[in-house]
Symmetry: C2
Subunit: 291 residues, 2 copies
């Protein structure tokens, strides 16, 4: 059994990006510049945005954090987006979700210039991805593809079962695994809340990608020997014995499932760290597109 | 066993659309206007475009056929598209595929204004579809959804197996059947040329949608009792005993599979006629969006 070490791989990727940025600067070129917009003071959102800004510093990117109050109107946010779209110094930007209820998220995401949409959430980019055109791939799915690539996990002709049909993980992952090329060429089954007899389906899977958010949902009796398991679930389980008052767990009962798996991601330290690394990668791609 | 009678349903839809157009005209409103662009003299393409124009006449739409020579340059075609985009009298238009080799199809499809893209081939519309936003659904998949709807075929919690991953049928169909709502909420498996043991998968299917183009590929021993079968394959098989020199057949061995099926589409007269009816429906939607 091999651990797909997202922490290590994401560090490798950051080192590679830092190296590229160093060369750019030596050539007198401008470093890539990522901006992040956050509305309100949600603790988790501030943590995520904070790690993105720190990741930029680590690889030598410029970064800009735009903080708007929780009471911010849709018009104010749209004005901010217009400015970021028009600002030639900024290569890509993200809007940290969720947004407060007075703001229409769909409308906001549609306002982002697709050429600066490094989260890959704009329908234009999502459509290009689904139609096999080159574009930004959403960071979490992109990170999973990168893990398959770096560890040489065969996907062609394998049966991949995706659990959960969210717009940011399950849906794009199900599309990407069935595309031509590597990683891809899998037979893909997308399962969700209406799926019956899910164990019967997961037991047929060569590769399982779960993004459900139900702690320890996937048990050993639901998988076959040699399965590849990618755990995208991240749940905080209250635990008074921990300093933070909780511990982090994934969708997979790691202790038992790992004994049958050929490859498996841990939680934390698996898919999570890959997401930020791939956001940086998308920003680098955005800069290349603009320069 | 019930035949999903695409010929009848498509006629019903055309009657309904004709009724709506009649009311529009009585109200002094402009009828919907569809334009079709064809490059070259390919026989099949001319036949398809001809049926689209005739369908417009039947329901009272205005139609415009733009015919360009086979030697037409990419720039000339792009100019035509710009004119159609700018022409307020035209609600929607299609570019008949395939295009001659001197023309980059991807570039051309990207030039169509998404608001007039009644084929639903533009990545912007494809992405909206995949992200559950309201938009044009490509005509063939839209026609299949309509058949499920009109015959009340349950799709929720069913295992739908899609055979073939083309951009115009298999890929969008696999996305649509897994979306929320009806028709949708299926567990969806997308299979293709790299799929191993396809019979094992099709035998588990409650619903099979095949768009492969291999005559009589799906045999009775590949399906379970009570299966719903949608045959999108249309192949011309040479046959000197026929006046036209060929006969039309689908991907399904209809004679044997129909004995096990609960619902099945015939070829011809199943999905085929639905495609044009749904193109008209998309044009009506386009007009409503513009008015």
């Amino acid at each position: 059994m091999t651990i797909l070490d997202g922490k290590k791989i994401s560090n490798d990727i950051k080192d590679e990006i830092a190296e590229e940025v160093k060369k750019m600067k030596l050539n007198g070129e401008k470093a890539p510049h990522l901006a992040a917009v956050i509305v309100g003071n949600d603790g988790a959102s501030l943590t995520y945005v904070g790690s993105k800004v720190r990741a930029c510093e680590r690889v030598g990117f410029e970064s800009t954090l735009v903080q708007l109050p929780n009471t911010c109107s849709e018009v104010e946010l749209m004005d901010t987006i217009d400015e970021l779209n028009a600002n030639d110094d900024i290569d890509g930007f993200i809007i940290q979700l969720p947004l407060p209820p007075q703001i229409n998220t769909e409308k906001v995401l549609l306002a982002v210039d697709p050429k600066k949409d490094v989260d890959g959430f704009h329908p234009m980019n999502f459509g290009k991805m689904a139609l096999d055109m080159s574009t930004f791939i959403p960071a979490t799915p992109f990170g999973i593809l990168e893990l398959f690539d770096r560890y040489g996990v065969e996907t062609k002709g394998k049966h991949t079962v995706v659990i959960g049909r969210s717009h940011i993980v399950g849906r794009p992952m199900s599309i990407l695994m069935g595309r031509k090329g590597f990683p891809g060429n899998s037979t893909v089954t997308l399962t969700h809340s209406h799926t019956k007899n899910i164990s019967e389906i997961t037991r047929q899977a060569d590769i399982i990608i779960t993004a459900l958010g139900v702690p320890k949902f996937l048990k050993a009796d639901m998988v076959k020997e040699g399965v590849v398991v990618i755990d995208v679930g991240i749940t905080r389980v209250p635990d008074s014995t921990k300093t933070k008052g909780y511990y982090i767990t994934g969708d997979v009962d790691f202790e038992t499932v790992s004994k049958k798996a050929s490859y498996i991601t841990p939680v934390p330290g698996g898919v999570g760290p890959m997401t930020i690394a791939m956001l940086l990668k998308n920003t680098l791609l955005a800069r290349d597109m603009h320069s």
